[in-house]
């Protein structure tokens, strides 16, 4: 029997303090007071006790402190309390607008209203479909801006255009960070090991955001050989394209190549001067930005009733073996927080996780990991709570309430609010200390423990399976 080697991090991390030992769980006293008012921005500012509020009408005052009047008696809890726990990193007040800091454009997309029809599993899928399409629309808008900005940069490499392209890249990636959680339907991977959507996935996500599969060398190959001009971007490996490919091209400032000296890329590279490398990078970035825009448009089109009408396939569950399996697939999106966020994005830099297929952090050159994590947590809440203003609308919390498990819904809402707050408080990763990362890891783990021990798996009160149990026999 082959034994895996003891991970090197174990030795290297021996001095780290595992702040998450005895993972803190949401405290009873953190629950919002029963008299908390609903409506308005879910999270105020300045408080120190993050907690859910703007509660679902189903949850009622006893559970989350009063029904929200926002959005016409909106369901699904918003959250209230701390200023560190606004929706999205920038505290957009629970509005379904992602991004951090400053005003984010609305891209002329119809935001979900957060309606709360009587709960049904179909209503939940419908709400999720509406949500994901709203964010696809937003991402398409951001990708258009990105494409235009990078084109301007390719034509005129001024500092102004460079700054605009970087800002557009960040804006697009922040939009994507919310969608990154929502991996069901064509965006998702169909690979059984990915644990996403084996039934309807087409892996489009990897073409937009390939993390953790990233490689500067693969980007350099395209810059040096420019084979994309002959064969198209689609022939490039996923680790050389997408938003992270653009990030490398926009943010990496050195003129060296990551490819080994004996490679054809290195040989070509050595014959290029800095100006040529710069221009080729901008040209390839332009091609990639156009490709990302095309993928965004494709996703939006696939879902739309005027296009592929995947919305109908998803909402009716006709593309899945049965309705419960469609719910499982939707639910597995939530587990992005468990594996990708907790173990990979936080666990690796915190020194906890080993065995992760992570060679480098997400957005390593831009250093915007914290903002992207905030988008991930927001995506989680949009699915779990609701996609309307103040996280109103139908979510998994309503399902739990309907099934008689309101206390679990409450605990997950509180834990997700805490996680959102903790991530929002993180410094940019290069500046974040191990202790800060471990602290955030612990807070996120409190949320993921609830997901793994209570919401999913063989003990799930709503029979949500883990991806691992796919197709297996029982007993």
């Amino acid at each position: 029997m082959t034994r895996p080697r003891l991970p090197t991090w174990l030795l290297g991390a021996a001095t780290l303090v595992a702040a998450s030992c005895g993972t803190p769980r949401p405290k009873e006293h953190l629950r919002p007071p029963a008299t908390a008012t609903g409506g308005g921005p879910a999270f105020g500012s300045g408080g120190s006790s993050p907690a859910g509020s703007g509660a679902s009408t189903h949850l009622g005052g006893a559970d989350l402190g009063g029904a929200s009047s926002a959005s016409g008696g909106s369901s699904s809890s918003g959250s209230g309390g701390s200023g560190t726990v606004g929706s999205g990193a920038g505290g957009s007040g629970g509005e379904p607008v992602s991004g951090s800091g400053g005003t984010t454009p609305d891209y002329d997309c119809d935001a979900p209203r957060g309606d709360t029809p009587a709960f049904s599993r179909q209503a939940l899928r419908s709400a999720a479909a509406e949500c994901v399409q709203y964010y696809y629309c937003r991402f398409e808008g951001a990708a258009t801006t990105l494409s235009d900005s990078v084109e301007d940069l390719a034509l005129d490499p001024s500092a102004e255009h460079s700054a605009a392209a970087k800002a557009a890249w960040l804006g697009a990636f922040r939009e994507w960070a919310v969608l990154e959680v929502m991996q069901f339907g064509p965006a998702a991977s169909a690979s059984p090991t990915a644990g996403k959507d084996v039934y309807q996935g087409h892996g489009v996500r990897d073409l937009i955001d390939s993390w953790p599969q990233i490689s500067r060398c693969r980007v350099d190959e395209q810059v040096a050989q420019q084979s994309y001009q002959q064969f198209g971007v689609e022939q490039a490996l996923i680790s050389a394209r997408g938003l992270l490919g653009i990030e490398t091209l926009l943010y990496y400032e050195g003129f060296d190549t990551e490819c080994g000296a004996s490679t054809a890329t290195a040989a070509t590279w050595s014959g290029l001067d800095a100006a040529t490398i710069g221009q080729r990078r901008r040209d390839y970035a332009h091609a990639l930005a156009d490709d990302v825009l095309g993928q965004a448009q494709g996703l939006a089109q696939t879902w739309s009733s005027g296009g592929g009408d995947f919305e109908q396939t998803f909402v009716s569950a006709s593309g899945y073996p049965d309705e419960q399996e469609a719910m499982n697939v939707l639910g597995w999106s939530l587990l992005y927080i468990e594996r990708e966020v907790k173990d990979w994005k936080l666990g690796v830099p915190a020194g906890y996780t080993t065995g992760a297929p992570v060679s480098a952090p997400e957005a390593r050159f831009a250093g915007e990991q914290s903002a992207l994590l905030a988008g991930n947590i927001e995506g989680f809440r949009r699915l779990f709570q609701g996609c309307g203003p103040s996280y109103s609308g139908v979510g998994f919390d309503d399902w739990l309430v309907e099934a008689g498990h309101a206390d679990l819904a409450t605990d997950i809402l509180q834990a997700s609010a805490l996680a959102e707050g903790s991530v929002a408080g993180l410094a940019r990763f290069p500046d974040a200390t191990p202790a800060e990362l471990q602290s955030t890891y612990a807070v996120v783990k409190a949320l993921t423990d609830l997901l793994k021990a209570d919401l999913f798996g063989a003990g799930s009160p709503i029979n949500l399976k883990l991806p691992a149990s796919l197709e297996g026999d029982t007993d």
Binding site: M1, T2, R3, P4, L6, L10, A13, A14, T15, L16, V17, A18, C21, G22, T23, F119, S120, R121, P192, G195, A317, D322, Q324, R339, D343, G347, Y352, T353, T354, G355, W399, E402, A403, G404, H405, D407, K445, T448, D449, L450, K452, A453, D454, F456, G457, A458, G459, S460, P461, I462, N463, L466, P467, A468, S469, E471, G472, D473, T474, D475
Partner: protein
């Protein structure tokens, strides 16, 4: 005792059982190959959980595992055909047992039952008639014996009856009979089924089906034994297992149980069935003739009695452990506690490399596949095994005084999760044994949450 020793019955039932069992096993092994389970369940793990006393069982290389399951398909077909059964049946039993011993997380009651039945068939004259072996013997001029000792029939009836009875006994507990859990959870997820769905969502359905399942399991072997009640009982068997197949992903289990229930019929039932097909078939299945007066050797009777006692003792051993077996799991396996718990959890290991050092966190994902992690998280002996592996890895790196703790929460039958393993116990110091596992915290005392059906 004299009756057991001398009574002989028509061999037709045993031949029919052999054919049906062989075909079912062939389908079962084929499913492993077709669905990719060979790779997913047996090849992809870097760590394997072993059964107590069977840690010595080694895993074959991946191509050989595929070969093993291909061989199981062929062996099953050979058994069905009654070809060289003195060789093929033990090989089949060995193969079925081997793959189950590879990793505890793959344990399923119906795999275990299949292995038991295969081993029983090794001891029975399954190739005596209506088989390639019999045909070959007839060609050599040997007389075909169309009878078999009644002991064989009784032994199989006992085996099948015990499965049902203990499966019923396992349901005699408050979660099942008073709170209809976990059935209430499982049925809620199937309210989308055409026709049946709305029925499953009715408030009383889960409780009614819980009681029906309990009564069915505990009584059906007795009704199958009665001549008058047998047809109705068998109809109930078909109805019950069709229902479970429809509602739950339990693979080949319903097929195995339905075919197994046939052993309760009169030994000549296959002749009657073939006789219904017409005169040609009727003439092909003449009345049994054979060696009357043959006696079963005494040592065979003793061996059969020992087997029967073992099959009684294994399920009952759970009662030797205090507490709820569904929680502490001691005595859970090999005791036919089928579909009685919805249990899941989350476990993380906390490691203190040496006294006074800062603790480290080891996620199970470091060692386990997702499936293994999901199974391990609610089974204490598996948590202990992985803790030992982590301990050993640290020791190899020079941390001789390493301590390994588990932070574990488990949810049972719709209750909220609660701590499962005592987080103060250094699992590295706990030896795996059959003794009571003191490191398992007490079971939840509160009743399960009343899960409402959703649509």
């Amino acid at each position: 005792m004299r009756h057991l020793s001398t009574a002989r019955v028509d061999v037709a039932w045993l031949s029919a059982f052999r054919v049906l069992f062989g075909l079912t096993m062939a389908v079962s092994a084929t499913r492993f190959l077709v669905y990719g389970w060979v790779d997913r369940l047996f090849s992809s793990q870097s760590f394997r959980f072993t059964f107590f006393g069977f840690a010595w069982v080694e895993r074959l290389p991946q191509p050989d595992l595929h070969g093993l399951f291909a061989a199981l398909v062929l062996l099953s077909l050979a058994v069905a055909a009654g070809a060289w059964v003195r060789i093929t049946t033990p090989l089949l039993a060995l193969g079925l047992s081997y793959f189950q011993l590879l990793d505890v997380t793959n344990y399923l009651n119906h795999y275990y039952l299949a292995a038991l039945l295969a081993w029983l068939l090794c001891a029975l004259p399954i190739g005596r008639a209506y088989s390639i072996d019999a045909w070959l013997r007839a060609r050599r001029g040997e007389t075909v014996d169309y009878t078999v000792s009644a002991l064989a029939l009784y032994l199989l009836r006992l085996q099948v009856g015990l499965v049902y009875f203990f499966a019923g006994l396992a349901k005699a507990q408050p979660d099942w009979l008073l709170h209809a859990q976990p059935l209430r959870i499982w049925l809620s997820a199937r309210t989308d089924l055409p026709l049946l769905g709305p029925l499953l969502g009715l408030e009383g359905t889960a409780l009614a089906l819980s009681w029906a399942g309990f009564l069915f399991d505990t009584t059906v072997p007795f009704f199958l034994l009665g001549r008058r009640t047998r047809p109705y009982a068998f109809a109930a068997v078909i109805l019950f297992h069709t229902g479970t197949k429809l509602l739950f992903p339990i693979g080949m289990f319903p097929f195995i149980m339905v075919l197994s229930a046939l052993v309760f019929f009169e030994p000549s039932w296959p002749r009657r069935v073939l006789g219904w097909l017409g005169p040609a078939w009727r003439s092909a299945v003449n009345a049994p003739t054979g060696a009357s007066g043959r006696r079963v050797p005494g040592w065979v009777l003793v061996a059969a009695a020992c087997y029967a006692l073992l099959q009684l003792a294994l399920p009952l051993r759970a009662f030797a452990y205090p507490g709820d077996v569904l929680w502490h799991e001691q005595g859970m396996r090999f005791s036919w506690r089928v579909m009685v718990r919805a249990k899941g959890g989350s476990t993380t290991f906390r490691v203190v490399p040496e006294p006074g050092a800062a603790p480290l966190i080891v996620p199970p994902r470091t060692y386990l596949t997702s499936y293994q992690e999901s199974e391990m998280s609610s089974q204490p002996d598996l948590i202990l095994q992985l803790a030992h592996r982590i301990r050993d890895d640290f020791r190899e790196q020079g941390f001789a005084r390493v301590a390994v703790y588990a932070d574990s929460r488990v949810a049972l039958n719709g209750r909220r999760s609660q701590p499962f393993i005592d987080p103060r116990v250094d699992l590295g110091q706990v030896e795996d044994s059959l003794a009571r596992a003191a490191f398992v915290l007490p079971a939840p005392s509160a009743p399960p949450v009343h899960t409402r059906p959703t649509y």
